[in-house]
Symmetry: C2
Subunit: 495 residues, 2 copies
Amino acid sequence: MEPAYVELKERLAEVMDILKTRALLGWDQQVKMPPGGGPVRAEQLATLDRLAHERFTSPEIGRLLDRLEGFEASLPYESDEASLVRVVRQDWEKARRIPSDLRAEMSRASSLALPVWVEARQTSDYSLFRPHFEHNLELRRRYVECFDGYAEPYDALLDDFERGMTAAEVRAVFERLKEEQVPLVAAAASEGERPARDRHYPLEAQQRFELKVIERFGYDPQSWRLDPTVHPFANSVAIDDIRLTTRYHETNLDGLFATMHECGHGLYEHGVSRTLERTPLARGTSLGLHESQSRMWENLVGRSLPFWRFFYPQLQEHFPEALADVELDDWYRSVNWVQPSFIRVEADEATYNLHVILRFELEQELLVGDVSLDDLPGVWNERMLAYLGVEPPEDRVGVLQDMHWAGGHIGYFSTYALGNVISAQIWERVLEDIPDLYDQFEAGEFGALRTWLVEHLHRHGRKFTPKETLERVVGGPIDAGPYLRYLRDKLAVAA
Amino acid sequence: MEPAYVELKERLAEVMDILKTRALLGWDQQVKMPPGGGPVRAEQLATLDRLAHERFTSPEIGRLLDRLEGFEASLPYESDEASLVRVVRQDWEKARRIPSDLRAEMSRASSLALPVWVEARQTSDYSLFRPHFEHNLELRRRYVECFDGYAEPYDALLDDFERGMTAAEVRAVFERLKEEQVPLVAAAASEGERPARDRHYPLEAQQRFELKVIERFGYDPQSWRLDPTVHPFANSVAIDDIRLTTRYHETNLDGLFATMHECGHGLYEHGVSRTLERTPLARGTSLGLHESQSRMWENLVGRSLPFWRFFYPQLQEHFPEALADVELDDWYRSVNWVQPSFIRVEADEATYNLHVILRFELEQELLVGDVSLDDLPGVWNERMLAYLGVEPPEDRVGVLQDMHWAGGHIGYFSTYALGNVISAQIWERVLEDIPDLYDQFEAGEFGALRTWLVEHLHRHGRKFTPKETLERVVGGPIDAGPYLRYLRDKLAVAA
């Protein structure tokens, strides 16, 4: 093997060790760390960020990339080797524009903001959170200034999550969604009383049941963990060290859907080719593609009728008191209930995108100063009324509900709705290739779906851009059509 | 403040962030990591070790230390600043003799050996573990060769755990212990049937009870965690992020004593002055001093009669079935039972040091080649017979019982017995200063003891060498006398 390539891989492996360690620090911070550890943890995270950034942006890596131009050109575009050189060159050219100090300050600021956000949300006190958000926003503006060549400030942020996508492209997709989903929601909102609400679902039985589900999806204790947390997320410390987190409420089974969602993320990370381990290609190619996987397992699988035909009898066994008088059809109606509400993570499939579009618009307006932080809670509430027909009575269930802005993640939300859109595009292809897919679900079999996804999507990791990846998987660009078709079909059935 | 000192502190803070992150990786590896994560974790640990070592041994730190000679001399010896410069200079001069490659290889080898040791112990298959131990030993020999000025190879290894102490000094203490403890054990072994054996102690009640105990010692969920693991240990990710681990058996309460033991370690780390956070002084000064704290809380507190006068009624409430017919005196006899046995971590106070002395001798003999790895299991068993009068029937309860050699920790065991010795020296001083100490225990009060330990020992962290620290706390050098006095008194009472 080309010596410069061997050296590049060694240097990248070191950077990845630091970044994966950082991922574990973040997981621990949210799942296991005693609160007293917070201030020092913020320093530890900032130090690892700085180290990874310094090592990655070193001139040595640049020289190796230069030396590998011929090597790259001599190999097929889709080979691991050519892909690594190509993607790392893009990453390197982007990353070296960010001063290490700014990177460390962004990390430190978000670590310090997170506990404040937790308290602000608990007490519904926006004024507590506001200065931290302001600092995060200011840091993002400085981040945007490190680049030229982006048409809009938002583009520079979005590119971190969705390489090569622009605000304009997202806007085109979202305008079509908004246009069709706002009236669809108004027309489709379920009527009457939602079945099986406010029952008692003991936590221990929830944990047992959801493990039964995700073990059929591919969860395996040999390489996975599942822990409770405040805000569910999935994390990969290695291809064979996947961490899912979820949360439980005794009065509903929302936690089950959160768990299926995070399992979808985990399957993507776990499905990456082992040949890419300890390289920057060993993860999902973008947050949009990632979200397509989590939303697929949560919704297209986990809210489908065939899925529940198989699992509902087991669910009743786990919750005999709560579900004795609930028929399968009622249960299916319940988990597909359409009801505009305040909280994004609890939103149904029909309203979810509207929550995201609201955030996408506000982030752009905040970045360029069209909306001020003083006005933000009010604008949030006005727009909730316009898009969803409901107005949050307090900021706890309004502008303070998500952790993203505390964590400094601006430009991130849009990928959730892109994920929904992409999930339906992929689903149409899956159904073409596996015509008896729903029969398999009814038999409790999900292996063919998982294998299809590994083969067509997961194993490639970050070798291709989101656009290239989507082109490979579905044969075309992003398109809101399949999702809107899926939604209209589903609402017609469930209504 | 002196600019060179500020820069030194910043550089050291970065190194400490890496090392504390490494501590978390190690904790996670043993407590939370899915087994599949093992191979990549080994790489991550090796990378962090190498990074910390490179950063710490950089010429810049050497130049800063040179520039700070006058600054150091201008300040009191016991000031934080002079202590930091003094101790870091010693550390730096030692550390820069170790090539980064050797450091990384030591780390990687131990990560790879640990799961093999787990399997070897389970199957009692020494041949599985032998090549890994051989590699670890070879790496330690190469480590020893990095130094000159040590009288014996063991000295170089011991110095990492007990700065400034020599094998000859340990030998002098251990010879006295062996001389007195071997006949003492033979004479004092308890007779009849041990009370309260083989009862059923439900795990959940054990967890509840031990939290009640250690919360009175100083455990606080704001800054501490307690988790189950295979081999109990304590870890500090920050002064306010202390991780204890323990293990539970349904047939006995050994886990309670393990928890009190680890809590003693945690209190030392948690008691370090906050002014030392993120410096290399923010931990216990040596493993011997550390073990003096864990053994003190486990034995001098946790196996004392006044402690049980307070806690035994609560213990009975937690285990009404197991302990209904057991009187306090019987319980006290049970937890102080003297009985030579195979397993060090389950050994009573009277026999414990003999387990350690055996390992201390074998390590020296292995290092210089007087005992071969082929002969090791046999020699182990022979010596068990000579010192303790019992011979392990299989390696699982013999040479394979401890994880230390898998982790590459050679020179470590002796600090356990040194800790016992030191604990009794400190205890005599505590009793002088707090004459009603045992009355306080009977009232469930342990705050005065904890405060005394913070004031006299914990807060100094690593500012002073183990010898200086001991001199400050007890007014003299290490001395086996108090421990032998304590043991003879206790055995006379308990017999």
